[in-house]
């Protein structure tokens, strides 16, 4: 690298693109303007030959480098590339013997993400220290042991990751955790919640999944209050089931507690995106109280049973006008289980009857759910439903399509006999059926 202060010869762009971030530079443009500041990572969507410089005022400016521009380096290379820096871990409270503690399993997602200045997007945190730097009050009411399990956005999680998580939850209870909190991306949080609901039995404490719709590097992040509520519930609630805790409204003072099998992300961006479908949420909480709308499953004396077996070759197909039977048949080929998200009461166009009949005959467990999400499927109201029933389609009452998909994976992990699988599918295992749907109520 050239000596400090001396102009860098030739095309400044060639030097700049290789220069570590964090260097103090000055660019003298061909028309006589001088830009002085710190070189910061360019935005993903920046134009060609554009560098980003952070001025002393704090503003970043994009400067297009002309071959005639001249570059000066105003400081020595320090080896600290300035790619965001690393937080120092806050001092941890040590767990005293016998003091109840909460396990926090971090999987990535917005709740454990920060702005990435290389890509311009948000990226998951890398370690426990970085996570704790966002949530300095985490251990206010007692110890929390953080275990980073994944550092992935939730759209990148797959069923085998649910198995890993189930084992980690089991291990945490085995080590004596009072409750377990899973910090998770919100996109597929409901899938994971359903999977854990089926995989974990005889729970001695709460398993609380929590996420954030705004990343914690923002002063307004909902992750802070959501996580605090989740940890509080995990520490104090005498329940033995898998729940999701997120904002109950747009305000930061009330949190809904959803059953893991009945919850769905219903909005792309709002803080209160998560809703229980087909009935009230399990309960809600604020800073002082926890209120149950329906009785939660009480905590078992333990030990927790982890059955992480999952089947494979399961599909979820959204039926829509114009879907060709050939395409649908190709999708369902070789599947051991298929969830259909049908229209209305659980219908498909009659053009699909032939391949569905054939698939069921070949042993594909085929489950009908409703695209409407709210309300239950019913094969007896219209002729189409009766035809599908006769074809061997399993009508799954008010099971949500995603929950049905997860449950089918789980059921196929326990049995390969379609009749046994069908029986498991219709048995209420984790509060996944509501049974009755009320005219009104607190959703």
């Amino acid at each position: 690298m050239s000596a400090t202060g001396a102009p860098v010869p030739d095309d400044a762009w060639e030097t700049l693109r290789r220069l570590p971030r964090g260097r103090t530079i000055e660019i003298e443009t061909h028309d006589g303007h001088r830009w002085r500041g710190t070189l910061v990572p360019p935005h993903d969507l920046s134009g060609e030959r554009v560098v980003q410089i952070k001025l002393d005022s704090g503003y970043n400016v994009g400067v297009r480098i002309d071959p005639a521009d001249r570059l000066r380096l105003l400081d020595e290379e320090t080896g600290n590339g300035g790619n965001g820096g690393n937080a120092t871990a806050p001092s941890r409270a040590r767990t005293r013997d016998g003091e109840p503690w909460v396990a926090l399993l971090s999987t990535g997602g917005t709740i454990a993400s920060r702005v990435d200045y290389r890509t311009g997007g948000v990226r998951p945190v890398q370690d426990e220290a970085e996570l704790l730097s966002f949530y300095p009050d985490l251990e206010r009411d007692g110890p929390v042991r953080v275990t980073p399990v994944f550092d992935r956005l939730s759209e990148n999680l797959a069923p085998e990751d649910w198995q890993t998580l189930a084992r980690e939850v089991g291990r945490a209870f085995g080590e004596g955790a009072r409750g377990v909190v899973v910090a998770h991306g919100t996109d597929t949080l409901a899938f994971t919640a359903a999977a854990l609901s089926f995989q974990l039995e005889n729970l001695p404490g709460p398993v609380v999944l929590v996420g954030a719709q705004r990343s914690p590097d923002r002063p307004s992040s909902d992750g802070v209050t959501n996580l605090a509520a989740a940890v509080r519930l995990a520490r104090t609630a005498p329940i033995g089931e898998v729940v999701v805790v997120m904002h109950a409204s747009l305000s930061d003072d009330r949190f809904a507690i959803h059953r893991g099998t009945r919850v769905r992300k219903m909005h792309a961006t709002r803080r209160d995106a998560f809703q229980s479908r087909n009935g009230p949420s399990l309960g809600w909480m604020d800073a002082a109280t926890v209120h149950w709308n329906t009785p939660p499953r009480p905590a078992a004396t333990g030990p927790v049973r982890v059955d992480d077996r999952l089947g494979d070759h399961v599909g979820l197909l959204w039926l829509y006008p114009g879907l060709s039977p050939a395409r649908a048949e190709a999708f369902s080929k070789d599947l051991r289980g298929l969830v259909l998200a049908g229209t209305g009461l659980g219908h498909s166009s009659t053009v699909h009857l032939a391949w569905i009949r054939a698939a069921v005959a070949l042993g594909t467990v085929t489950v009908m759910t409703s695209q409407c999400l709210d309300g239950a499927v019913d094969p007896f109201v219209y002729a189409t439903g009766r035809e599908l029933l006769r074809a061997g389609v399993l009508y799954a009452d008010d099971l949500l399509p995603e929950t049905a998909y997860v449950k089918l994976l789980w059921a196929l992990g326990r049995s390969s006999d379609p009749r046994e699988v069908a029986a498991l599918m219709l048995e209420d295992r984790a509060g996944e059926f509501t049974g009755r749907r009320l005219a009104e109520g607190d959703r």
């Binding site: 303007h33 910061v40 935005h43 969507l45 920046s46 134009g47 554009v50 980003q52 952070k54 001025l55 002393d56 005022s57 704090g58 503003y59 970043n60 400016v61 994009g62 400067v63 297009r64 300035g82 965001g84 820096g85 937080a87 702005v115 990435d116 200045y117 311009g120 997007g121 948000v122 730097s133 966002f134 719709q213 705004r214 914690p216 590097d217 923002r218 002063p219 307004s220 992040s221 802070v224 209050t225 409204s249 747009l250 305000s251 930061d252 003072d253 961006t269 709002r270 803080r271």
Partner: protein, 621 residues
């Protein structure tokens, strides 16, 4: 003194990052409660101003109105930067001869006082290195920025602040000048000149609060102090001048403190509530009785200097109290205002003993229900006292209606800014820039020439119309048949006279102004009555008729001016006999008082001359 300005002008283009209209609203449709905390920027450092604001741990209530959507609530990512608003900024950049950036990057400026739901304000640097000529003096324009306005504060109680979302997201152009302004008067002129230039774009919002100024003042040996949110140009001068005086006062005080060997306070202070037990009047005793902490801190060598009063109304005691207030307390008690608050005689001695103050030492006392709150306030006061030994602390200050200012928070630094990654950077297309520059609005001097030419206005009168932002209304009123000279007079003489007594600025609707002009045309009032009618309208008269009545100009026109003139002359016969034609002036005054603005002065003079002449004629014949 060196002073710089930041002029913030709202644009009438719709909001900067969503499709909401840029309109204020009184229709509150819902409320949302939020909390904010300080977060670090790219390098994890937390800005001192942000940390300070977050330390107050407030609850924020946001009022949802029709002119807001999920974006204002921080429930949806920002949409792309408004092209219409950016175009106005690009036009301004060119009018200011500034260099437009190749690529514009939207930044987040951390602000956790609740005025932005996200906890940051979005802002983008658009152009740099411009300049402006103001009466032959070149003022540099280092930056032109485009940013979103903050939410509007509509209420505040202990621990909770209410904001309305209508103003949040309205585009603001921020134009900063270099520190080349040398007087308050010049600051005002520069602000007016920038305001004029902004209005030529035709895309700015009008009315009270749509243009706001920040004043940065530094003095030789002092520090940079930012006075934020001055809404009245006429007070700009006073803020800048009082700030200069305050800084000089603080520098003098520093010398006095140093010469006495004063030292910075040490330690976190101590709870003296035990020394305040038993009977005693005043809020400190009351606090101690309730079991609240009363924290005391010794200021070594400060005795007597806390109450020293400056011509600008400043004293160090007030500065210290402002720091306690900024931390959420109502104020503090300092030893230079004792005896008082029930602290005298033995009680005072006991207290001083508990604190261990020497004869040269001062002390301060603060109290709050929570120890943490009181301790935080005392830490601020301690730091401010220590800064008195160094000189003038750099601060953000809030303008008060009387021209003074008050400490609000530390100056923010570069750590408050980090990139807004939800909005892609905007490349400025050179072709588009050329198109805009080919159709720039006429510069103010060109408009002035046109006004002078077309309406035969004096150039200074034309300039005054521009400063008031009245060119458009002026031309429309003249276009509807009102005499140019009369309309210009209303703007340059009558309105300023009418506004002189107002305590807060009031905007007069053009329709009302036209009604007043109509009253003159119909002979209901004379030109001389315009100012007092306008004054009544500004003070709240609901209609022009009511304003005429309140101004005492009711009772219709004076129809028989001649008779009135004859009566006045007759009543002063002796004077007329004695002084002849020289009696005209005193009698004119009497007659004008009788007429009270209902008739034109020239007509009154004519009638008086006629009456005087007729009086002399018989006696002379």
């Amino acid at each position: 003194m060196k002073s710089g300005l930041e002029v913030h002008q709202q644009l009438a283009t719709g909001k900067l990052f969503c499709n909401c209209p840029a309109e204020l609203s009184e229709e509150v449709r819902g409320r949302v409660l939020r909390r904010l905390r300080a977060t670090g920027g790219e390098n994890h450092a937390i800005d001192p101003a942000a940390a300070f604001q977050a330390s107050r741990d407030l609850r924020f209530v946001y009022e949802v109105v029709p002119s807001s959507c999920l974006v204002e609530l921080d429930e949806e990512p920002p949409h792309g930067l408004s092209k219409a608003a950016l175009d106005v900024a690009l036009v301004m950049a060119q009018l200011l001869h500034a260099r437009v950036l190749d690529e514009i990057e939207v930044m987040r400026k951390i602000v956790v006082d609740g005025s932005n739901t996200a906890g940051f304000q979005r802002t983008a640097l658009v152009a740099v290195d411009g300049h402006l000529e103001v009466r032959g003096h070149t003022i540099s324009i280092p930056t032109v920025c485009l940013e979103e306005d903050a939410a509007r504060k509509t209420g505040e109680t202990a621990g909770e602040v209410t904001y309305r979302l209508d103003r949040l997201g309205i585009p603001l152009i921020e134009i900063a000048t270099g520190p080349e302004i040398t007087s308050g008067a010049e600051a005002r002129e520069v602000a007016e000149e920038i305001g004029m230039l902004l209005r030529t774009t035709g895309r700015v919002r009008r009315g009270i609060g749509t243009i706001r100024e920040d004043v940065n003042v530094s003095t030789e040996g002092g520090a940079r102090v930012e006075i934020k949110g001055v809404q009245e140009l006429r007070l700009l001068e006073r803020y800048a001048e009082l700030e200069e005086r305050r800084q000089r006062f603080l520098l003098d005080l520093r010398e006095k403190l140093r010469s006495r060997g004063a030292r910075p306070p040490s330690g976190p202070g101590q709870d003296v509530a035990p020394a305040l037990t038993g009977p005693g009047k005043g809020f400190l005793f009351e606090a101690a009785r309730r079991g609240h902490p009363v924290l005391g801190l010794v200021l070594p060598g400060f005795r007597g200097l806390l109450r020293e009063l400056d011509a600008s109304g400043e004293r160090l005691g007030r500065e210290l109290a402002d720091y306690a207030r900024a931390a959420g307390l109502r104020g503090l008690v300092h030893s230079d205002e004792l005896p008082g608050y029930g602290l005298e005689g033995d009680r005072l001695q006991a207290l001083e003993q508990a604190l261990g103050t020497g004869p040269e030492d001062a002390f301060v006392l603060v109290t709050a229900p929570e120890v943490a709150t009181a301790a935080r306030a005392l830490a601020g006061v301690s730091a401010r006292a220590a800064a008195a030994l160094v000189g003038v602390p750099g601060e953000t200050r809030e303008p008060l209606p009387d021209g003074r200012t008050r400490y609000t928070r530390p100056l923010p630094g570069r750590d408050r800014m980090y990139p807004e990654t939800d909005v892609p950077p905007v490349r400025v297309d050179p072709g588009h820039l050329r198109e805009l520059s080919a159709s720039l609005p006429p510069r103010p001097e060109v408009v002035r020439e046109r006004l002078a030419d077309r309406y035969h206005l004096n150039p200074e009168v034309a300039r005054q119309l521009q400063r008031r932002g009245a060119v458009e209304t002026f031309e429309s009123l003249v276009g509807r048949g009102h005499a140019a000279a009369l309309v210009a007079r209303v703007y340059t003489q009558d309105l300023p006279t009418a506004e002189a007594d107002l305590t807060a600025p009031v905007e007069l609707a053009p329709a009302l102004l036209e009604e007043v002009l109509g009253s003159v045309a119909e002979g209901r009032i004379a030109k001389e009555g315009i100012a007092s009618v306008l004054r009544e309208l500004l003070l709240g008269a609901p209609t022009t008729v009511a304003a005429i009545e309140r101004a005492g100009l009711g009772g219709g026109p004076v129809s028989d001016l001649d008779t009135l003139a004859e009566r006045v002359v007759a009543a002063n016969e002796a004077l007329v006999r004695e002084r002849g034609d020289e009696a005209f002036s005193p009698l004119m005054g009497d007659l004008m008082r009788e007429v009270r603005g209902r008739r034109d002065g020239q007509e009154v003079a004519k009638a008086l001359r006629k009456a005087l002449a007729s009086r002399r004629a018989p006696s002379g014949g």
